[in-house]
């Protein structure tokens, strides 16, 4: 009962906020599924921030603060909905993969099989590894959650320099979300981290499939869902109680929402619609509140946006220039509340990170060519094996798939360039971190690189199937040329 109440408040907060600022996302099953997956993920982020702020303020009335937060979001919801009236569901769909009836049936059957296989494996792993699968689960994330829940007024003790190996600088979305559920329950039930991991895994797949179903069509959506569900490492990590899958969810959500934001202007001329931008900013903020790599992604998404839209001359063919500052301001407005929480945590709780050493040592590492070669070698090797696929790695399979389905006429759009650049810059940022790491390089690469790839994998699949689905011989009537 207590856990259901905690989940309901969290879910309702996410749903009301999403529906208040983005009421147009409705009308189809895909739209509802997308909204539900966003609500679940964003709701966990909101309640995590609320729990942390309550703890920082020295209070232990987390239920009261949860209800207050929900009330504020409800008032916002009512105010916005009364003003905006009944929204018209927009039309997003463009060209999908062409497939005969029998192939669509095979595709649907395979989608069902891989989804059930993923659910079965997730369930088994949750039961088998009730305290997580790997050191980071108990030595970092669940340990921090225990300090937040059991520590009472001494919860900050868990974030001091005496236990540096627990990374007291790591942000607290996951530990605070776990501790909040434990506070409702009254004890540190190990099922809670498992369930949160499962929710993020499920929401990542649902968000990928439902967003592509709207932007590209059913075939592309099912293919992406199959590709993600059949990534054994994704399912393993989902049940491992690490923070990489939640981070992958927020990275995917940021990119998906930006695509819907842009297309609201281009395709449906909803120039007043700021919701997707606001939610994209919130989601990018939650990425930074989940892991430090999320902050890297946040910087990358800004830089990629600037490089793509600000550094190029504006096109007059766009119905409404998406580069207008008002949309960027909406993104920043969504980001600011979470950024304030992150800064507060960094300033008042976290110790200094352990990835930076003195400038002279870092410079020496940067000027050592053998480090570049070693990292490059690991990047290539891990790119082919990080998913733990059988026989043929998907990372090798996708280019083959692309070569088979592509057509001569290729249409690029700047948003796709911007999103791909954001992922590429994050990827490059990881490279720089390895370059300057004070730890043993091979140890560091061995125990983290595959998880870094996994963080970007759902968003990569989203962009891949969005891009490959665009390879049509001529634009359909519904799809104006995007500059």
């Amino acid at each position: 009962m207590a856990i259901a109440l905690a989940a309901a408040i969290s879910m309702l907060s996410g749903y009301l906020l999403t529906d208040a600022v983005w009421p147009h996302a409705r009308g189809t099953v895909s739209a509802w599924l997308m909204k539900l997956s966003l609500a679940a993920g964003l709701g966990l982020g909101i309640s995590s921030c609320g729990f942390f702020v309550t703890g920082m303020a020295g209070g232990d009335h987390f239920v009261v603060s949860d209800i207050l937060l929900l009330a504020v979001i409800f008032v916002l919801y009512v105010l916005i909905r009364v003003r905006s009236g009944r929204p018209i569901p927009p039309n997003w769909v463009t060209t999908d993969f062409e497939a005969p009836g029998w192939l669509r049936l095979v595709l649907a059957s395979s989608f069902v099989v891989t989804t059930f296989a993923a659910l079965y494996c997730s369930g088994q792993r949750m039961v088998a590894h009730e305290h997580g699968d790997g050191w980071d689960a108990f030595a970092i994330w669940n340990l921090h959650a225990r300090f937040l829940f059991l520590g009472g007024p001494h919860w900050r003790d868990g974030f001091n320099a005496l236990i540096p190996w627990s990374h007291p600088d790591y942000p607290l979305l996951l530990p605070a979300a776990i501790a909040r559920f434990w506070s409702y329950l009254g004890h540190d039930n190990p099922a809670v981290p498992s369930l949160i991991g499962f929710v993020f895994t499920l929401c990542t797949v649902t968000l990928l499939v439902s967003s592509l179903a709207q932007l590209r069509g059913r075939n592309a959506a099912m293919l992406s869902g199959i590709a993600l569900s059949a990534t054994p490492f994704f399912i393993e990590q989902g049940a491992a109680q690490y923070a990489d899958i939640p981070l992958s969810f927020f990275i995917l959500a940021s990119i998906v929402l930006l695509h819907f934001g842009f297309r609201s202007q281009w395709r449906n001329n909803l120039t007043h619609l700021h919701g997707p931008w606001l939610l994209a900013g919130l989601s990018a903020g939650f990425a930074g509140w989940t892991k430090n790599e999320g902050l890297l992604f946040l910087g990358a998404i800004f830089l990629a946006h600037l490089l793509t839209f600000r550094a190029r001359p504006s096109s007059e063919s766009a119905p409404e220039k998406p580069t207008e500052r008002k949309y960027e301001i909406s993104f920043v407005l969504g980001l600011i509340p979470v950024l304030v929480v992150i800064i507060w945590f960094r300033h008042s709780v976290a110790t200094a990170g352990d990835l930076l050493s003195s400038p002279a040592i870092m410079l020496e590492k940067i000027l050592t060519p053998s480090r570049y070669l070693a990292i490059l070698r690991w990047y290539v090797k891990d790119l082919l094996r990080f998913g733990e696929w059988w026989l043929v790695p998907e990372t090798a399979l996708l280019p083959i798939f692309y070569l088979l389905v592509r057509k001569k006429r290729i249409r690029y759009d700047p948003l796709l360039r911007s999103s791909s650049a954001a992922l590429a810059l994050t990827f490059a940022g990881y490279f720089v971190i390895y370059l300057i790491t004070p730890r043993d390089l091979y140890w560091h690469l061995r125990f983290s690189l595959n998880r870094l790839f996994l963080q970007l994998w759902p968003a990569t699949l989203f962009l891949f199937f969005l891009f490959v689905g665009r390879q049509s011989p001529a634009p359909s009537q519904n799809e104006p040329e995007i500059p």
Partner: protein, 138 residues
Amino acid sequence: MDAPSSSPLHNKRTTTGILLLLICCLLSSGRMVFSTPHPAHIMRNSIAARSDDRFALLKARLPSAGVVGYIGETGDSALPDYYLTQYALAPLVVDHSTNHAKVVGNFRSSQSSWIPPDLHLVQDFGNGVYLFARKEAN
């Protein structure tokens, strides 16, 4: 949604691409299912056995906040054992040092063969778990 018409050659290539992707994904999915442990073979999680279960009695004897010292075995299991002790005793901070009034001893697979002379045994909780105190702390 109606798909736009395309050449038969391209349709064939698209069909091949989709089938190839499906076959490889289904193979990975199948192996994932078969390599996942069956419910009948699932063992009690070793993390709980090595942390919460082992340290439950000791935890009841220690204060709920503050810092205690730690001494344990050497070897491959030394670090995980220390981390698991911290996990079990949180929100108490376990410092890997004997310079504290109370020191937790964790000797899971051997006797406490080497204990610094400035520590004395307060209580043996069994299962390799000990509580020591500094002699001057008395």
